[in-house]
Symmetry: C2
Subunit: 153 residues, 2 copies
DNA sequence: CCGGAATAGTTGACGTGTCATCCAGTGTTC
DNA sequence: GAACACTGGATGACACGTCAACTATTCCGG
């Protein structure tokens, strides 16, 4: 079927290793800073942002999973932990008795608002302040292309 | 200290969200395929590749951690799991009695050789086959810049 | 040589993510 | 309306990663 595997050439290997290193270090750094500044994980922050984008309307768990592109089970576990810490609450859903609404608590809203400025500043500092506009464009086009290839097949 | 936080502009937000989505989906897809094809996690694969790059010379655990850019404790836990599955073995280090050598077992070598072609093919298919040479260059320059900013501060 | 600092690696506790499974409520079909 | 599959979500088991504490050795100054 594939005879000889086609390995990556030198430039591709360089790009791939560089990308892997960047992504690991960037994620770890942003995570550590957010944790240190605000006591939140990146995942916590994503959930809080998604919920506060919806003002205060309760959001269905499944819909939230879709927004975050998370598996339902991941979200369920994560919400259980966040609920234990008082950041979110689950409410019964009148329309569909097997569904659940998720809402931000006051503590959750405060945590998100407190965390956001430093987090954005870190993203700026580590990424965008160092990139020329063409590099930002390239990042967009690469992301779009790769995502299209992942989705389409 | 920072008065008004400087938010990301529309283009930057687009780039950032796209990057985050790409990286999450790419990692998940590569992980799932490697797991399905070869029963290995990405982390397993990285360890096996690092060890097989060193032919069969035993590698000190600490050095391996450095090569992989992993914390020592992560490596220790991961090696314990891989050792349980028979992919690697730990040996005593004669020079330094508190050190440990890590070696690939035959099963480990076979697993790595069996996994590599499909994994490279997946990276090609999802990433490099879709990118023009300038995009690969841009990926390199972005990775270098971001890593420099993470390191230097 | 002795005692304390540094180093190599392990361990335990805990948060996180995945997969498979389960359960309850819903919808559909006859 | 009873049997059926379907859907929303929770749960348990387990792999993974991090942090802090720990153990055993080595190193170094006196």
């Amino acid at each position: 079927m594939d005879g000889e595997p086609r390995w990556l050439d030198a430039r591709e290997q360089h790009a791939w290793r560089g990308y892997l290193a960047m992504q690991a270090q960037l994620q770890a750094t942003l995570h550590r800073r957010l944790q240190a500044d605000a006591g939140l994980s990146l995942a916590d922050f994503d959930v809080l942002v998604a919920l506060s984008d919806r003002a205060d309307e309760p959001v269905r768990a499944g819909e939230l999973a879709g927004l975050l592109q998370w598996e339902k089970s991941r979200l369920s576990h994560h919400l259980a932990r966040m609920e234990r810490r008082g950041l979110v609450a689950r409410e019964d859903c009148p329309d569909d008795a097997r569904g659940a609404f998720v809402v931000l608590t006051d503590a959750g809203r405060r945590a998100q608002e407190a965390a956001a400025p430093a987090h954005v500043a870190a993203v700026r500092e580590l990424v965008f302040d160092g990139l020329a506009p063409e590099q930002v464009d390239a990042l967009i086009s690469v992301s779009d292309e790769v995502r299209a290839r992942i989705a389409g097949r």
